[in-house]
């Protein structure tokens, strides 16, 4: 049984079909990346998995359970955390409140303090700024906060939408290093990236999107060596 299985998924915005019947799987402990150009349907796919969009057709299974029709908050409860595009930080709340709100679904309230400590060891900058309004953070810090929130929720699977967007190369290194580390500790990751080169460096497998379809699938090294993929997405 796969951790996450998408079957024949089709999603439309009004008359425009953004995702045209795709299928893929994510196994436990993997980093799987969805790569492809802008508008290929990657973000739409993530938003449909987390319940923000409803598909016209197809199914989404999480550990064998059909979650296609569930509302977003139920899907989070089951263990899927979505780090959205543009970070989705609550700029009018403090950093601490942002992290606290991410524990909304958790029943083990006594463990939360411990997890704050752990998250602050991974992201020391957030500790320094915990009582500041999240709106005052830099773009990189906001991205860290967005990932940190997903850690506080303690799901099994983390969906990340363009975590490298708008960040300086040093910070991208930092984010990807942390993602690899989180994955080593057992979290399954589904990563959407335009920066295909960087994404394939840390991923185990990948799927290449083109105008709402999956055109290539394979292990990271297969995709890195695929001539067509190289040409289109890896800069020759």
């Amino acid at each position: 049984m796969s951790m996450l299985e998408v079957q024949d998924l089709e999603v439309s915005y009004g008359a425009i079909r953004a995702v045209k019947g795709i299928s893929f799987t994510v196994e436990k402990g993997e980093i799987v990346t969805l790569i492809g150009a802008n508008g290929a349907g990657k973000s739409t796919t993530l938003r449909t998995i987390s319940g923000l969009l409803k598909p016209q057709r197809g199914k989404i299974l999480y550990q064998g359970q059909d979650i296609t029709e569930l509302p977003p908050h139920r899907i989070v409860e089951l263990g899927i955390n979505h780090v959205p595009e543009g970070r989705g930080i609550f700029t009018n709340l403090t950093v601490w409140e942002n992290l606290m709100l991410a524990t909304y679904t958790r029943k083990d309230r006594s463990r939360i303090q411990e997890d704050f400590e752990q998250v602050f060891t991974i992201f020391p900058r957030l500790k320094e700024r915990s009582s500041q309004s999240a709106g005052t953070l830099s773009g990189g810090e906001q991205q860290m906060l967005s990932v940190a929130r997903a850690l506080m929720t303690k799901g099994e699977v983390m969906l990340l939408d363009e975590p490298s967007m708008g960040l300086a190369p040093v910070l991208v290194d930092e984010i990807f290093r942390i993602l690899r580390e989180i994955n080593r500790q057992g979290k399954t990751i589904l990563l959407v990236e335009q920066n295909a080169y960087r994404a394939l460096e840390i991923a185990h497998r990948g799927y290449v999107f083109e105008t709402g379809n999956i055109v290539y699938a394979g292990t990271a090294s297969e995709l890195q060596n695929n001539e067509a993929v190289k040409k289109a997405y890896l800069g020759g």
Binding site: S50, G51, L52, P71, P72, H73, V76, E77, N81, H82, P84, G88, I89, F90, T91, N92, L93, E97, N98, M100, L101, A102, Y104, T105, R149, T153
Partner: protein, 379 residues
Amino acid sequence: METFLSQLIFGLQRGTIYALIALGYTMVYGVVRLINFAYGEVFMIGAFVSFFLVNAVSLPQPILVVLALLVPMVTCSLLGLAMDALAYRPLRQKPRLAALITAIGVSFFLSNFVSYSSGETVRSSAVASFLLAGFLILYVLGVKVLNFPVKATPNFKPIKFLIPTVSLLLIGYIFWISKDLLTELRWKGSSFASYPVDRLIVIEKIPLYKSVYITNIQIMNFVVSVLLMVVLSYLVNRTMTGMAMRASKNNKDAVALMGVNVNRIISVTFIIGTALAGAAGVLSAITYPRLTAFMGVQPGLKAFIAAVLGGIGSIEGAMLGGIIMGVAEQFAIGLLPSSYGPSRIDFTPLADGVAFAILIVVLLLRPQGIFGEPPREKL
């Protein structure tokens, strides 16, 4: 100086009432970007529920005072829940103008419903509510005891029926206790009812400074409003629900991704807003005991202006805006010549215009209000 002080006391009292209603406007706007124009009517219904209760029930005074305040608050929050579920939720994904016009419709519906109701219609409404509640109870019993209908059993949760059943019983009860009074009043659209203040409290004037005094009703008014606002601040700033509420102002999708049921947060916001408006209605009725079906129109509008003045979406803004509005209006009443003065013409109704003058000035000089954030440019 003395006039100034006594006007200030009256103004503050007026202001706290506006502030309580304004909080409803601002909180719901913060979360769903909707101006729920029906708060004036919720205010009116709060006053009437309290009126019927105080007339129908005889209990020791202290208990009656508490009930006269709490029962309308609970009834109004149920009304708020119903309003959201029936009128606004179906329009959540539609253009905002649709919900806004619906809000105006809800407001007209409620004031006209009260104005056209009579002993007879209210009696039938009570019977209908009891019958519906009875049906729900029978249904739950039927499913639990007789396993009927069989298909419904697997996901059946009796707890889900608790709130609707209790609501129907409470609403039925309120209709029931109000029917005789309405018949007695020969209630018509243009009629008014006098709130029986003397059953709750004996008015006492407490001298403060020379001829300046404060009444025990005013003290009660301040204590209740401050208490409600403190509870509200605690709820909004210190609880998970409050955090989710503030976060929803910023990014509703992201709130859902934190595992929060956003619809539930919206419901809580409606419950709080309408409960506060109901409390304001009761406080106002104790001070100005003349109740009419349209008594909520002016306070509703002024509280809306207070919320705009403070910065719509901002809770501190609504509190401050309400107070400013009340004090400004009271000073206008104090300064304008009344029919008792030398001119023999009553100019005090012009004080109603102060609110709108304030609105015009705010919109011209600082459209985002005192605490509002300036509109952001979308990139």
